[in-house]
Symmetry: C2
Subunit: 579 residues, 2 copies
Amino acid sequence: MHGFKFYEKVTGAFRDRSFLSKVLIIGTVSGGGLVALSDSGAFQRKNGAEECKKKKVVVLGTGWAGTSFLKNLKDKSYEVQVVSPRNYFAFTPLLPSVTNGTIEARSIVEPVRNIMRKKGMEVQFKEAECYKIDPDNRKIHCRTNGSSNLGGKEEFALDYDILVVAMGARANTFNTPGVVEHAHFLKEVEDAQKIRRTVIDCFERASLPSLTDEERKRILHFVVVGGGPTGVEFAAELHDLVVEDLPKLYPAVKDFVKITLLEAGDNILSMFDKRITTFAENKFQRDGIDLKMGSMVVKVSDKEISTKDRVTGQLSSIPYGMVVWSTGIGTRPVITDFMKQIGQANRRLLATDEWLRVEGYDNVYALGDCATINQRKVMEDISVIFSKADKNNTGKLNLKDFKEVVKDICERYPQVELYLKKKQLKTIDALMKNATEDPKKETMELDIEKFTKALSEVDSQMKFLPATAQVAAQEGAYLADCLNRSEQCEKYPEGPLRFRGTGRHRFHPFRYKHLGQFAPLGGEQTAAQLPGDWVSIGHSTQWLWYSVYASKQVSWRTRFLVVSDWGRRFIFGRDSSRI
Amino acid sequence: MHGFKFYEKVTGAFRDRSFLSKVLIIGTVSGGGLVALSDSGAFQRKNGAEECKKKKVVVLGTGWAGTSFLKNLKDKSYEVQVVSPRNYFAFTPLLPSVTNGTIEARSIVEPVRNIMRKKGMEVQFKEAECYKIDPDNRKIHCRTNGSSNLGGKEEFALDYDILVVAMGARANTFNTPGVVEHAHFLKEVEDAQKIRRTVIDCFERASLPSLTDEERKRILHFVVVGGGPTGVEFAAELHDLVVEDLPKLYPAVKDFVKITLLEAGDNILSMFDKRITTFAENKFQRDGIDLKMGSMVVKVSDKEISTKDRVTGQLSSIPYGMVVWSTGIGTRPVITDFMKQIGQANRRLLATDEWLRVEGYDNVYALGDCATINQRKVMEDISVIFSKADKNNTGKLNLKDFKEVVKDICERYPQVELYLKKKQLKTIDALMKNATEDPKKETMELDIEKFTKALSEVDSQMKFLPATAQVAAQEGAYLADCLNRSEQCEKYPEGPLRFRGTGRHRFHPFRYKHLGQFAPLGGEQTAAQLPGDWVSIGHSTQWLWYSVYASKQVSWRTRFLVVSDWGRRFIFGRDSSRI
């Protein structure tokens, strides 16, 4: 059996190369997503004691963040309610594979109720959409999508003690006219299924006898907007479908097929290492995928997409058959509304502190694509940091004083460490030493002015986390771990010093651990950017990709299905039935 | 591995019991369908010579009849065009399994283009719906369903030399108000997918906090209308889903679930042996499925279904969450329109002669659920039969005369044989002998009066063929075989004598060979009615069912998928994600 050989090869790859096992935990990209759901061990510390009797936790969303939170929450003193319009978790990094039939939609979804059932704690699920968060009354308002048979739209409200907002994002259209009406997105499972049907529709339509060749050319012109990881992977998968499988079934029209990738920037995969970008661009050119850099889409009509050249400003119109829009994420209306209520109207994304708490609401957490961590700047807090370090109020900081708080500073302000790394300094002492004229480390002293000067540039190293599955999953696991040990940490805080208050923070702040990114490029080739700027490209990386994605599945059922889908594709090719 | 053990069991069942292999070709029921697509060998005779250069054959439909025709057509002198709104063949007997997630929709479909590709002859496919047949101009008019992106609805016409109408039927609502708006059907793959989503919707909706228990009860009340093979199998599969799998995920609402089966007649599965009917009724009662016999549905509203008792005339209303309507088939509008054009306006189904030709149009064939064979009555032709037999025009028929035409009579009028069987007479001679007073067979003579009397009752044995997959597949194979040998049979006709003309018919008339029927009853039990009134019920019959359905798959791909779906269900249960 071919299928079994395939599995042997995968496992064999691990036996033969021990380094592979080490990088098994590297994440995987798609939707820019990195996968670390089942490996939240990084945040698994000792189990805390139980206290609060049946605190009501409401989780909004069943994506990477929500599901990861749910999987890792263990404290039985919580009563959990999950609200989401989707009663399943979807392994979104495989969505591009669903669009071309390599993977079946059902193979990448796992019912949330299955995940809940295995927990052995009180969790309830409601299939509904939260349309309003009322943080002052600690309530959320929900609405179902029901047919009239079932009683139409039903509304209800839920109380919460702790709210976990993990509703994800929607596709960002930049308000480009016509995108919502005419383009396909690649956010949900339904989107992927629709794209699959549309590709087949295009081929069937182009095969009709009454069409001109020009119309055939238009209908078989597939345009992908956005050269990020999702757009690139989709273009690559689409190319495999229209080059490997469909020509056999539609020999008469295969010469009309064309794929164009529009990217507003100068490169595709710009967040990856230059080597990967170059390899991808060369491969796409060899494959005949038309890469149009610096093309900004200004309008999409039903048969044409209008672009503007970023440099020359020239406008042009491209006839198309299908457009897939993949240019990043936008905020959902309910989140925008919530932001207005809590005074964040001028922000683009819901901001939280480093403990994932929505500012001003200690019992509301926001994670995943719908939120962003608003890292405090050192410069904002420089005087309180100084006075905290200067315990004796001498107005001077000597090395001993400083050493006592340096760990807390580094934990509270991760940009400090990044700055040191960039400057290739081993410890913060060296930074301090640069700021004083005293050549002897032991006796050096800093006043507030010199202290400020020494740290004046560290904030330049602040980074926003990418909107990936990897970040969302780590945030979910982190938050669950905090809640699991909330009682214990109340008594014995483990976080850094509160510079603007007294005592210590209860928890360590969330710290993202980047495990690497994949960029599948079609034709059984994948690029991977691993931690430490290690780059791997080619067929072997594709096998690594298979292994990682199989291992990262949320259940044995989906793992079995995904692997058997791959096997089926190897043996029988992709299915082209329009269902 | 469980999955592998399962396969071993299946094949083991065949090794252990040789009788099983013998009945492997028995058909299988669902949608009342019997499966004999790959075994059309019964009609495979010698291959004829080629003549007509590239005659244009247009096939309407890709169901059992159309696909079977396509698979069996071998004569390369035809240029074939297939027109259907579905670019795939669906193994409809497994649709009930798709509704509850035992089988995935994609596992039972095979792209028509795949089937065509393997033929190595000129076949083209157009994804479009034929909306008008114009037999006088030998044209069909087609229309596509396209989104505006693709150019909206496109119309085109095709010429034909030979037309094969195999468009199937639609569900018959008997014009009951509200059925089209509120009930689900079980004819197409999309119907099955919609039912699956609706069942999950019902469970999710019933789990919402804002509902009363009465509403929960209504929403979880599943009503099946029609106690035929499809309705019964669906009710059984639904019962397995809501009893085996869903209670684990929806423990809070499982006690509200109820299934009701409404049947207008006195029994479910009335076309089966009494033993099967009784077994099924008892099993359903044990399972808690509410069987309501003699209930005719008079109206369906969005939340209630109104029935009238056939005997007492009493009206009653049943609140429901989902209704599945499965009460037989009705004619598609394009066929009704065609029937008006050719003077069949007063018929319910398109009538053909015994060679599947539409009456009056020698080059238009109709097969499958859209057509019915209008068997000629012996009484209509009695005088021409007599004069044909009475070669010497003596006005009397002696046994020698008679023996010469008896084979042709039996072939042309199959009801004669059925009548003899019913009367337990070995040959037609005996029937003749009864009609004359002469005790000596050799000298007996019949005049037209006695001859008419002898055959006067045979027409009572005329039977319409059931609208099953088995019939459609055999018709498709038969017609393909005729066209393959059309040239040869033109020269050497092989059919019976033309009683109303001269010479012989070119082909043998179509003769249906009933291979048996399955009726799956849930809980891994199936009933089967095999030829010769042999009845088999229970778990072993379920394994037989698995084997037959696996062997009858149209391709190795779907066979692999169906078997692995069964394996997956054994290991992981059914998926309840709402996609």
